[in-house]
C-alpha cells in the first residue's frame, strides 16, 4: 500500500477524494478496492448536475462476481463523469488513482474533508 498517492483522502469503504487545484473534487476507488473486486465489467455513474451526499451511494461498480455500491466521500454537485468507463471499465483495475476516476463534483462543505482518512490511516484499514 506504499503506492497510495499522498494527496488523496479516503472513506473506509475504499473510495478516494482528491482536491484539484481549481477547487473541484475528483472521486474514485482505491487500488485495494479494485483488487478485491477483481475484473470490473460495468460502472453506473451519477448524472451530471445531480446532488450527492457524503457517505451515500452514488455509483455502482460491477465486477464479474458481484455488484458493489460506491459511496461519495463528499457532498456536492456532480459536474463531470468519466465517460471512458462506459466502454472501458477495466481502466479502474489498471489505473484506479488516475485514468479510472469516477466523477468530479463541486463540494458543498469542504469541512467534510476532516471526516476522511489520510493515506496512512486508510492503509491500516486495508490491513485489518
Amino acid at each position: 500500500m506504499s503506492d497510495i498517492p499522498g494527496d488523496l483522502k479516503f472513506l473506509s469503504s475504499h473510495e478516494w477524494a482528491r482536491v484539484e487545484s481549481d477547487g473541484t473534487i475528483t472521486i474514485g476507488i482505491s487500488d485495494h478496492a479494485q483488487d478485491l473486486l477483481g475484473d470490473i465489467v460495468f460502472v453506473e455513474l451519477p448524472e451530471i448536475g445531480q446532488s450527492v451526499d457524503a457517505e451515500n451511494d452514488t455509483a455502482i461498480v460491477e465486477s464479474v462476481k458481484a455488484a458493489s455500491d460506491i459511496y461519495s466521500p463528499l457532498s456536492g454537485e456532480v459536474i463531470e463523469v468519466n465517460s471512458l468507463l462506459e466502454d472501458q471499465p477495466e481502466i479502474i483495475n489498471s489505473s484506479p488513482y488516475e485514468d479510472g476516476w469516477f466523477y468530479k463534483l463541486t463540494p458543498s462543505d469542504l469541512g467534510e474533508l476532516d471526516n476522511l482518512l489520510s493515506p496512512e490511516d486508510y492503509s491500516e484499514v486495508c490491513e485489518d
Binding site: 460491477e62 464479474v64 455488484a67
Partner: protein, 355 residues
C-alpha cells in the same frame, strides 16, 4: 473451516480465498477473466476437493441406485461410464444433482459440497433395505483439468495411466483407487481426477509445470454458466422439480417397472404448465444478477444465475420463466427496464453476439 489438501499451495500462488459452504476455497488466483479464457483456449486445473465423494459396498448396488436415482443406472452399469442425474425426495423436489461413475464393477458418486450431510444421511437411510454400505471418501480429493489442450497435458503426466486417452465423453476408468473420468463442469473437453489426497500435490505441481493455469471457483462459475450447466442451490433447490429445472432429460421412466423415489410426484406434474429454465442475454449495458425480475408477453420469471460472460463479452444468465416466452423480454435492474433475448442455455456455440 475445512481446507483442501492443496490449501497451502493456493495461498502460495496468491489465491484469494473465500468461504464456500464452510470450505476455504480459492476464488481466483489472478484475473477471473484470464483464468476463464485459459480454460476456453488452452488448459486449466481446478481443485474441487470440496465436492463429496461416496463409494459403495454390497451386492444390490444396482437396485439401490435404481431406487434413489431419477436417471436410470441401467444406462451405464455394464460399461465404464458416468451418468448425470438428480436425487429426488418423495415430492419430486431436487435434493441434489450428481454424477455416478461406474468402472471395474465399482460405483463412485460425486455430489455437491453444501449437500454433503443431507446426501450422506439420505444414501445411508435408503441403502439399508438393499444391504448396501455407503462409504464417504473424505480421503479423496478432486482435480479437474479442462480445456482444448487438457488431454494433451494429462498424457504428459507420468503418474496417470495413458489409457485415459481412450476414454470417450463421460467414459471413466479406475487405476487402483484413482478414478479418471472424461467429465467436467466447463463445457470444454478434459478430465476429472478423483484421487487420494496424498497424490494431489504431485499431480497439481506436474500440471502447472506443463503449463496448466490454476483456476478458481469464480471462473468455474462463469465457465459452467456459459455451458448452460445448473448450479445446485442457485438454479434449483429442494423446492424445484426437474421439469422446471432443465433436468427433464435426466428423468428416465423408460423402464415402467422401475419405481424411483419421486416418480409418482413427477407423474402428477403437468409439464405443459411448468416454468422452464431458459438462457438470457442482456442486450443493454449492465450485468444480470440472481433475483432480478423478468417479464415477457405471456408471463414473468426471475434470474437464477447471472454474470458477465468473458466469451460472449456481454451479460448472460439462466432464468426460470413462465412458458409462452418468445425471443425477447424485459429485465428490471435497479428500477430500470432493460432488454433481454431468450436463448438456449447452451450459450457456447451460439457465436459471439456482437463484436
Amino acid at each position: 473451516m475445512n481446507k483442501t489438501p492443496l490449501h497451502n499451495t493456493h495461498i502460495q500462488l496468491g489465491a484469494k480465498i473465500v468461504n464456500f459452504s464452510n470450505w476455504e476455497m480459492p476464488i481466483s488466483y489472478s484475473s477471473l477473466i484470464e483464468e476463464h479464457n485459459a480454460v476456453r483456449n488452452t488448459a486449466g486445473i481446478f481443485d474441487v476437493s470440496h465436492m463429496s465423494v461416496f463409494d459403495f459396498d454390497g451386492d444390490n448396488q444396482v437396485a439401490f441406485f435404481e431406487k434413489i436415482f431419477a436417471n436410470d443406472i441401467k444406462k451405464i452399469y455394464k460399461d465404464n461410464k458416468a451418468i448425470y442425474g438428480a436425487l429426488l425426495n418423495e415430492e419430486g423436489g431436487i435434493l441434489d444433482d450428481l454424477i455416478i461413475y461406474h468402472a471395474n464393477n465399482k460405483f463412485r458418486l460425486v455430489s455437491n459440497c453444501s449437500t454433503r450431510e443431507q446426501n450422506k444421511q439420505w444414501l445411508e437411510k435408503h441403502a439399508v433395505e438393499f444391504g448396501v454400505k455407503v462409504m464417504e471418501r473424505s480421503d479423496m480429493g478432486i482435480l479437474a483439468i479442462q480445456g482444448p489442450y487438457a488431454l494433451k497435458k494429462i498424457l504428459e503426466i507420468k503418474k496417470i495411466d495413458a489409457q485415459v486417452n481412450t476414454l470417450q465423453s463421460f467414459g471413466c476408468m479406475f487405476e487402483g483407487d484413482k478414478l479418471y473420468a472424461r467429465t467436467g463442469y466447463t463445457g470444454e473437453d478434459g478430465l476429472e481426477l478423483i484421487v487420494p489426497t496424498q497424490d494431489m500435490n504431485h499431480l497439481w505441481d506436474q500440471a502447472l509445470e506443463l503449463g496448466c493455469t490454476p483456476i478458481g471457483l469464480g471462473a468455474r462459475d462463469t465457465l459452467r454458466l456459459e455451458a448452460g450447466l445448473n448450479l445446485y442451490g442457485k438454479d434449483m433447490t429442494i423446492n424445484n422439480h426437474p421439469y422446471e429445472s432443465n433436468l427433464g432429460w435426466t428423468i428416465d421412466m423408460s423402464d415402467e417397472n422401475r419405481e424411483f423415489i419421486g416418480k409418482n410426484a413427477l407423474l402428477s406434474i403437468d409439464q405443459s404448465k411448468s416454468q422452464k429454465i431458459v438462457g438470457i442475454i442482456l442486450q443493454d449495458k449492465g450485468v444480470l444478477r440472481s433475483g432480478y425480475e423478468i417479464t415477457h408477453e405471456q408471463g414473468k420469471g426471475v434470474v437464477l444465475s447471472g454474470s458477465y460472460s468473458p466469451t460472449l463479452q456481454s451479460s448472460i444468465g439462466l432464468a426460470r420463466v413462465d412458458q409462452g416466452y418468445k425471443e425477447n423480454g424485459k429485465v428490471m435492474i435497479r428500477n430500470k427496464v432493460l432488454n433481454i433475448d431468450f436463448v438456449s442455455p447452451r450459450f457456447l456455440g451460439q457465436g459471439k453476439i456482437s463484436s
